[in-house]
């Protein structure tokens, strides 16, 4: 391998196969369209209402917890904690809330099949906010600003059906969160220079990042799961991360997620989907439950990963260097118990691990867009 001595310049010219694989991680941002399952998707008034709801602590039983408690805009939309705390502690890491519009599944276990359904989960979970459909609907009906925001977003005053109002809050929040797409990165500039055959543009990309990228699309096998422009195939895998929550308790991961999905009232096959044709419901219709889903978690996207420590579903790894070490020293015997063989113990040198981290760091947006977002969504209702 490359350890020790500096790599000769020729070693950094990517082969034709490597180039094809690198190009698959762009262009960025990808094209997107409104979510047909959500009639508020892309609607400016719904986006403004969703923003107001995101910062609204009265949506919690205690009146003290809002979405922004655990998804802080000034912390890349996460909380920096291994596991979040709302009204009580939860046992998973709060994911950063960007590039969600490209996902198929939501939550580490994919228990939700739409962004709007995902947004209802903290409102139902007592550990997080727990206000529930009745409490949420009463609040929206009784508060002038909120009921005005609702009317602007959905074209009608909040009615008598609590659950309908409740689901609509998830949809307004989704309209807002869909607008959070990460900006261009040094990797994107390199990738586009490669696509254009622009040598000067390619030369600006750091050599360490190039070596890390080669590992990522090559020997590291990373791109099998961290595939495409968002660096995730939006599916699930066992990455060898321990999933004990406490003595005798494990997080079942995807296995539990599919079972929750099948019990849920809020899926794309249910009555709250605004798309009569169910055109985005194939995943829900055909998903298959298997024993090997135990211990599988959603493959996270890697854009802005350098800003979203700690890592993994329960925040068990503090830094990207720890992640590189994790993949380098995997326990293959445990991992291959399910029969699947993608990940291997990579035995990377210290230099190679640093290269991998250098590459991951180039997935950070150059002009920060993750920063503070104004709290006031109420302006339009004066």
């Amino acid at each position: 391998m490359l350890s020790g001595i500096a790599a000769p310049a020729a070693a950094l010219d990517f082969t034709a196969g490597e180039q094809r694989r690198i190009l698959r991680h762009g262009p960025w941002p990808p094209a997107s369209r409104p979510d047909p399952s959500n009639r508020a998707s892309g609607e400016p008034a719904a986006i403004a209402f969703g923003r107001a709801l995101f910062f609204e602590p009265r949506l919690s039983v205690s009146g003290r917890v809002s979405c922004a408690t655990c998804h802080r805009p000034d912390r890349a939309w996460t909380d920096g904690l291994p596991q979040s705390r709302g009204q009580r502690a939860v046992d998973r890491n709060a994911p950063a809330l960007f590039n969600l519009r490209f996902n198929r599944w939501f939550g580490w276990d994919g228990a939700q099949d739409s962004l709007w359904a995902q947004n209802l989960r903290p409102l139902l979970d007592r550990r997080e906010m727990g206000i529930g459909p009745g409490g949420a609907a009463r609040l929206v009906r009784s508060d002038r600003q909120l009921s005005c925001g609702y009317r602007r977003a959905f074209g009608e005053a909040p009615g008598a059906d609590d659950e309908r109002i409740f689901v609509d809050l998830g949809k307004a929040l989704a309209a807002f969160l869909e607008t959070r797409v990460t900006g261009r990165t040094p990797f994107d500039d390199f990738r586009d220079a490669l696509a254009r055959g622009d040598a000067a543009g390619q030369a600006r990309y750091p050599a360490a990042a190039k070596r890390g990228l080669r590992l990522f699309v090559g020997r590291g096998n990373c791109a099998f799961c961290h595939f495409g422009p968002a660096f995730t195939n939006s599916e699930f895998a066992d990455a060898g991360v321990p999933h004990f929550i406490g003595p005798g308790r494990v997080d079942p991961g995807r296995h539990g997620g599919i079972r929750k999905l099948r019990r849920s009232r809020y899926t794309l096959l249910g009555r709250f989907n605004d798309d009569a044709g169910r055109s985005t419901a194939a995943g829900t219709r055909y998903v298959r439950l298997r024993q090997s889903n135990f211990g599988e978690f959603r493959v996270p996207g890697l854009r802005n990963a350098a800003l979203t420590a700690p890592y993994m579903h329960a925040g068990s790894l503090a830094t990207l260097a720890d992640v590189a070490l994790h993949y380098s020293t995997l326990d293959e015997e445990r991992l291959h118990a399910g029969g699947e063989r993608i990940l291997r113990r990579l035995d990377l040198s210290a230099r190679e691990r640093a290269d991998l981290v250098a590459f991951l760091e180039t997935l950070t947006e150059t002009a920060p867009r993750h920063g503070f977002v104004g709290k006031s969504g109420a302006v339009q209702c004066r």
């Binding site: 791109a223 219709r285 699947e340 063989r341």
Partner: protein
Amino acid sequence: MARPRPGGPALAAALALVLAAGEAAACDRPEGWTGGARIAGDLWTAWWRSEPAAIPVGAHFSVRFHLCGPPAGRVRVRGWMPDHRHGMNYRPEVTLNGMSGTAEGLMFHMPGRWQLLLDIRGAAGGETLTAETVLE
């Protein structure tokens, strides 16, 4: 798409002759199809094509197929990554109409080498036909 057979060109030519005389002649590309690929087994021969024609990575697609051979009672369609030893995360739904069918809800969730497997059962027996494709 069919797996390359051992035996070299001479054997292949001989086989082609035998096939041309037998079932191959009896299994033409289904009417109205432009693309598609053929997989020959002992009992059945299948024509299949995906929709869209280029199988996407990480998005749902469907497969249409047409069988030649004895009557088929049940067909299951599966995907398998031999190098990684895993299948698909979705279970496709097959509708069989005589000797033609459609499988909805397939997804190949990674780039790499995939097999498309047709498990066919009928009064004459059972057989698995395998096609192979590499996604980038």
